[in-house]
Symmetry: C6
Subunit: 221 residues, 6 copies
C-alpha cells in the first residue's frame, strides 16, 4: 500500500488499521486463487519510498507463458487491498491503492491490446500512441478509431471490474480470516504463512521440481 512519503513515518491508529486490512486483502485473495504464487510474508512496516505496507509472493517455478486466467488472477490479487478497504470502511476507499490500480490497468491494457484476450476488441494488436512514451505516463491510449478506443476502454474496465468483484466475494466469504489476520498484523507488524495458515494456498498444488535458480519474488505494496 502506497502513501505519501514523509521523514518520520508515524501513522495514526486509523491509518495503521487501514494498512493492515489492505495488506491482508492482498494476501487472502492470493491464497484463494489457483495458480497464484504463494504468499511468503505480509507486513505493515513502512518500506522504501511511500510504501506503508507490503505483501511478498514467492513463485514456485519460472513462468514463460501466462494464460488469460493467470493475468485475471493477478489483477484480482492487486485489487484485494482496495476490496478489503471497501468492506471495512463502508466504501470510503483511500489514496493508498494508486499503485495497485496502475499495475492492474497496465495488465488489463496488455491483455486487450497486445494479447487479443477480449472478444469484442478481437485478436489483433494495437500500437501504443507515441504520447504514452512520456515518463510517468505508463498507461495510455492506442492508435485506433474512437469507437475502437472506446471498446478497448470498456474491455479494460470490465476486466478490472470483474477481478474486483471476485476479490470482494473472496473477502466476504473469508471475513473472519480478514479480521483475524489484520488483528495479528496490527500486533506483530509482519507475519508469514507459518504464523497465519489462512494465507497458505487453498489447494496444495502439484509443483514440478523447483527451478535451479530462485525466481524473483513479487512484491505488492
Amino acid at each position: 500500500m502506497a502513501g505519501v512519503e514523509k521523514k518520520s513515518r508515524t501513522l495514526s491508529r486509523a491509518e495503521r488499521r487501514r494498512v493492515a486490512y489492505h495488506e491482508m486483502g492482498h494476501a487472502l485473495v492470493a491464497a484463494s486463487l489457483p495458480g497464484v504464487d504463494p504468499v511468503q510474508k505480509v507486513s505493515i512496516i513502512p518500506r522504501g519510498v511511500g510504501a506503508l505496507g507490503y505483501t511478498i509472493q514467492r513463485p514456485t517455478e519460472d513462468r514463460f507463458l501466462l494464460a488469460a486466467s493467470d493475468l485475471r488472477n493477478r489483477i484480482a490479487v492487486l485489487l484485494g487491498g482496495r476490496a478489503a478497504e471497501q468492506s471495512l470502511f463502508d466504501g470510503d476507499v483511500s489514496t493508498g491503492a494508486a499503485d495497485d490500480l496502475q499495475r492492474a490497468t497496465e495488465i488489463a491494457l496488455e491483455m486487450v491490446t497486445r494479447h487479443g484476450m477480449n472478444t469484442t476488441v478481437g485478436q489483433r494488436t494495437y500500437a501504443p500512441s507515441p504520447q504514452s512514451y512520456v515518463p510517468g505516463a505508463p498507461t495510455g491510449a492506442v492508435q485506433a478509431a474512437d469507437a475502437t478506443a472506446r471498446e478497448i476502454d470498456v474491455a479494460v474496465r470490465d476486466i478490472i471490474s470483474h477481478a474486483f468483484d471476485r476479490a470482494v466475494d473472496i473477502l466476504k466469504s473469508r471475513r473472519a480470516d480478514l479480521d483475524r489476520g489484520a488483528e495479528i498484523l496490527l500486533t506483530r507488524e509482519s507475519l508469514s504463512a507459518e504464523d497465519f495458515p489462512a494465507i497458505r494456498p487453498a489447494k496444495s498444488e502439484q509443483h514440478e521440481a523447483a527451478p535451479q535458480h530462485a525466481p524473483p519474488a513479487t512484491l505488492v505494496s
Copy 2:
C-alpha cells in the same frame, strides 16, 4: 482569495466586504466538516502575489492516507469562499475564486483518474496527456476514448458540484455566523478561533498524540 496584483493595494469598500465573506466562507465550511484540519487564522490583509485574503488551517497530525471523504471535504472547503460570495451577492460571483477552482479541479481529477474513486469511470488509472505538461497548465486531459474522457469530465463536475452544494448548505444554516464573522473581520482585519469560536471544529475530535515534528499548515487564499 486571489486578485489582480497592483502596487498600492487599496481595495474598495465593496471589494473588502466580498473578501471578508469569501474567507469566512472557507473558515466556516472547514469548521463544519469532520476530519478537516482546524482553522488557525483568517485574514483580509493582502499578502504576497495577488492574495487579497487568506485562511490558515493547521493539521493536528501527519496524514499518510486520504480517504475519498477527506478529499471531498477538502474540495468543499476550497469552494466555501465561492459559496459565501454566491449567497451574499445573489449569484454574482467574482474572479477571486480562480485559484480555489483550480485546486479543487486538480483534486477531483486525481480522485477520478488516479484513485479509481468514481464508479462509472472505474478502478483504473488514466495517464495524463503529455499536453498537460505545459507550464501553467496544471489541469488537463487524459489519454482515453472520447466517450471515456467525457465520463471523466462529468465525474469531475459532479464531485465539484456536490461539494459546492454542501458548502452552500453549511453556510445557509450558519448564515448568522457568516455575517457576524465577516463583520468582525472587516473591523479587525484578521481573527483566530479564539477570537471567533464559531470557526472551531464542530466536534472536538479525539486526536492522537501530537506528531513530533509540526506538520505544515494549509493556506487557502
Copy 3:
C-alpha cells in the same frame, strides 16, 4: 474600430460615417451600464496601427476583483460598436470590429474556463491546449472531452450573444443620442462627456476617495 493600415489615411464619406456610429456605439453602451468606467473621450481621428477611431474610458478607482456582471458589461461595451453598425447599415456589418470580437471572446473564455461562471460547464478550470500558445493565436481550445469542449463553445457564444443583444437594446432605446453623437463626431472629429452629456454615466455613482495613483485608462478602438 480597426481597419487596414495604409500610408495615407483618407477614408471615404461612408467609411467615416460608419466609424462615427461604431465609436458612438461603444460610448453610449458604456454610459448606459452600471459600474462601467466612464467615457472620457470619443474620436474618429485615425491613430496608430490600423485604428480608425477610438473611445477612451477612465476608471474612477482600482479594481482588484471583477464580478461576473462586470465582465458581462465589458463585453457589451466591446460589442457596442458592432451593434451600432448593425442598426445603421441594416445588418451589413464590417471588418472593423475584429479586435472587439477577439477581446470579447477572450473575456468570455476566461469566464467559462477559469472562473466557473457558466452553470452547465461548472465550477472547474480547464487548462488551455498548448496549441493556443502560438503567437497571434490568443483565443483557443481547452483540454476536454469533445462534448465538454462543445459546452464551452456554446457557453462562450451565449455570453457574447446576450451581451450583444443588450448593446442592441440600449442603442435602440437611445437612437436619437446615437444619431446626434455621430453627427457631432463627424463635424468635430472628437468629443468628451462635457461636449456631449449623453455619454456621461447613467447614474452618478458614489465613488470612494480617488486612488492615490491614477489607474490606467481603457481604450476601445
Copy 4:
C-alpha cells in the same frame, strides 16, 4: 485562370475557349455587382507562373473597411470564372479555378472565424490551429469543438455556395454578353471596358474625389 506551367505555352483551341469564357465570367460578374472595383482589362495571354488568362480590376478609392456584402461580392467575382465554365461545358468544370477557390475559401473563413459574420457561429473569433502555419497550407482548421468546427465548415460552404449561385444567375441573364465577350477575346486576346462596354459597372456609381496615390489594382487569374 491558373494552369500547369510549361515552357512553350501553346493551348489547344478548346483550352483557349475555356480560358476566354472563364475570364469573361469574372469580368461580367464584377460588372454586375454594386460596389465592386471596375474591370480595367481582360486577357487570355498567358502570364507569369501558370496563369493562362487574367482580369484586372482597378479600385476607384482606398478601402479601409469592408462590409459583409463587399466580401460576398468579392467571392462571387472569384467564382465567376468557374460559373462560366460550368454553363459552357455542361458542368464539366476544370482544374483552372484552383486559385479562385482557394482565395474564396480564405475570405469566407475570415468572415466566419474572425469577423463574426455568420449567425450560427456567432460573433466570436476562433484562433487558427497551429497546424495551418505550414507553408503552402493557407486555408485551415480552427481551435474548436468538433461540432463547432462543423458549423464553421458549413457556414463557409454556404457563403461560397450562395456566391456561386449568384454568379451563375448573373451569367445566365447575361449569356449573350458572355458569348460575345468570349468571342472578341478569342480574336483580340485582350480587351478593356472601352472595347466591350458590357463589362462597365452596371450603375455609374458616385465616387468621391480620387485618392491622391493610386490604389493597387486587383488581378483575378
Copy 5:
C-alpha cells in the same frame, strides 16, 4: 503493375498471366475512353524497381487544363489493371495494384479538396494536414471538422468506385480483346497499337497540330 523487387526475376506462369491481363486492362480501358492519351506500348518485361509490367501512353498534345471528366478517365485507366485481375481471377485480386490505387487516390483527393469537383463537399479548398508531409505518405488527411473529413472520404471513395465500375464494364464488353491481347502479350512480351489494333483509341479524335516539343509519355505500371 508493381511487385516485390528481387534479384533474379523469374515469375511463375500464373504470375505472368496475371501481369499480362493487368497491363492489357490498363490498355483497353485507355483505348475505350474519349480524350485519353493513346497507348503506345504494353509490356510484361520487368523494369526498374518492382515493376513487373507497364503500359506507355503518349499524349498527342500538351495539356494545360484538365476537366473533371479527364481526371475521372485517368482514374479509370489506373484501375483498369485491377479490373482485369478481378474479372480473370473471380475477385481474387493481388498486391500488384498498390501503385495504381495510390495514384488514383491522389487524383481523387485533389479533385475533391482542391478543385471543388464534388457537390457535397463544395467549391472550397482544404489544406492538407501537416501530418501528410511525412516522406512516403502521399495521400492524407485534410484540416476539417470530422463530419467534413468524412464527406471528403466518401466523395473520394465514390469517385474511385465509379471509375472502377466503368473499367469493369469496358472490359466485360471487350472480354475477347482482353483474352486475345493477354495471349499475344504472353507470347511476344510486349506489343504496340500496330501489333494489336484493339488498343487504338476508339474514335480517331481530331487532334490539333502536333506540339513543337514532344510531351512526356505517361507510364502506368
Copy 6:
C-alpha cells in the same frame, strides 16, 4: 511461440504441452490450405530471444505477387497456434501468441489500407499516420475521418476473425493429427514432414521448375 526471455529456460510440463500444441497448430493449418508454403520443420526447442518453439515453412518458388487469398491464408497460419491453444485449454489462451497477432494485424492492415482488398473501405490507399513511425509501434492508425478509421478497424477485425475461424475449423476436423503431432513433438522436441506426414501439403501442388536461388524460409514462432 514467443515467451519471456530468461537465462535458464526450463519450461514446466504444462508450458511445454502448450508450446507443442501451439506449433502443431501452425503446422497443420499450413498443411491444410492450398498455395501455402510447405512446412519443413516444427520444433519446441527454445531459440533466440523469447521464442519457445517455432515452425519453418520453405517456399517452393519466389513470389512476386500475392493474391488476397494468399494473404488470408498466411493470417490463418499465423493464428493456427492460438487456435490450437484455444481448443486445448477451453478458451484459456496465453501470452505466447503476441508476435503472431502482431504480424497478422500488419498483413490485415496492409490488405485494407494499401491494397484495396475490403469492399466497404474501397479501392483507395490511406497514408499511415506519422505517429506510427515510432520504433516498436508497427501497427497503427491511418489518416482518415473517424468513421472511416472505424471502417478500417472493423475490416481488419473481420479479416482476422474469419482467418481464426478457419484455423479453428481446420484443427477441429484434424483433432487426431493435432493430438498425435503434439505428442510426438513432446517426445522428440522437433520433427519434419518426413517424420509426421500429416503436415505435408494437402494437395501435392504442381510447382514449376525450382528457382535458381533458394527463396528464404519463413519462420513462425
